[in-house]
């Protein structure tokens, strides 16, 4: 009797702990969690690309940085309410990144560097686009 009780107890414990570990192993696939994962992935990809561009890895260019900065911004915007001031702050951060990128390109250009990855008009475009996005968002929220 005692043996049967202990077996049942162990079995129940095993099922419970097993179930718990299976539940813990399952990734959170809710929209909110996926949105956060997307922001994190875009941010990391941006940082990695930035490091690669700084290291002079030839296959990476400012265009890659722009693409990932935009994706990061868009992923963040997707999680904010339409009239949240957070939206303006998010676009401002993207603008700041693009301004830094343009400044870096200009200073490299001034020092005589004319590598294939530096395209000043493109850098100007990234900044102008971000400025326009910011202005549009501010006007929309007014």
């Amino acid at each position: 009797m005692r043996y049967a009780f202990m077996t049942a107890l162990y079995l129940a414990l095993a099922i419970l702990t097993g179930g718990a570990s299976v539940a813990a192993a399952e990734p959170d696939e809710s929209v909110e969690s996926l949105e956060q994962q997307r922001i994190a992935a875009a941010q990391e990809a941006y940082e990695q690309n930035k490091a690669m561009v700084a290291a002079g890895i030839s296959t990476k260019s400012e265009e890659d940085l722009y693409v990932w900065s935009r994706r990061w911004m868009e992923a963040e915007l997707a999680t904010t309410d339409a009239n949240s001031p957070q939206r303006i702050a998010t676009i401002e951060k993207h603008l700041k990144r693009m301004q830094v990128l343009e400044e870096r390109g200009k200073s490299l250009h001034r020092t005589g560097y004319d590598g294939p990855t530096i395209c000043l008009p493109a850098l100007g475009y990234y900044v102008m686009e971000a400025e326009l996005l910011l202005r549009e968002e501010k006007e929309r929220q007014e």
């Binding site: 696939e29 929209v31 996926l34 949105e35 994962q37 997307r38 994190a40 992935a41 875009a42 941010q43 990391e44 990809a45 990695q48 690309n49 690669m52 890895i57 296959t59 990476k60 890659d64 693409v67 990932w68 994706r71």
Partner: protein, 185 residues
Amino acid sequence: MALAEALPAVFPLHIGYTQRRWSGPLSRSAGYVSDRYEGKAMKRFLFFLLLVLCIGRVDLSAAGEVAEEDEERAAEKVALAREAYEQREPAFQAGTETAEFIYRLSRRWMEAELATLSEDSTERIQAIQQHLDRMTKMENRVQKIEAFRKESKMNSFTEEISFSALRYYVVEGKLLLKKAQSLRD
């Protein structure tokens, strides 16, 4: 609108005759002239009606042709996007094409497919699922290669591949799928 504007211009005689007919008795010659006008006006009316019907028919068939042509072009776009993906994907496996480029080709293929489907079509979910599968396959493949190279202590040829980028492609696919499914439910 065009018909309303054109009618008074085409049938002034008919209207004039009707007014004269009701204004009082007419001489025989006048009546003869009016009957002739009426006949002419009727002929004009019939001709005009025929013309309108023909133009309408031509317009309708032309619109049908345009829609058919659009459909053909959209299908062609899907075929081209698919071909581009299938052509370049092996290059990625061989290490001569970037993950970013393959992602863009896969998205184009999905978007071209979505453009041919109606908003409530179940095939939309299928198209997004297929894009997600392609991205998941790409991520798994890179991870397997990387794991193998680490095990064998070989230099990583994937040092320029951003694993975060691969993660992003997959997560974005999952989000697109979730949103499409919630729209359907």
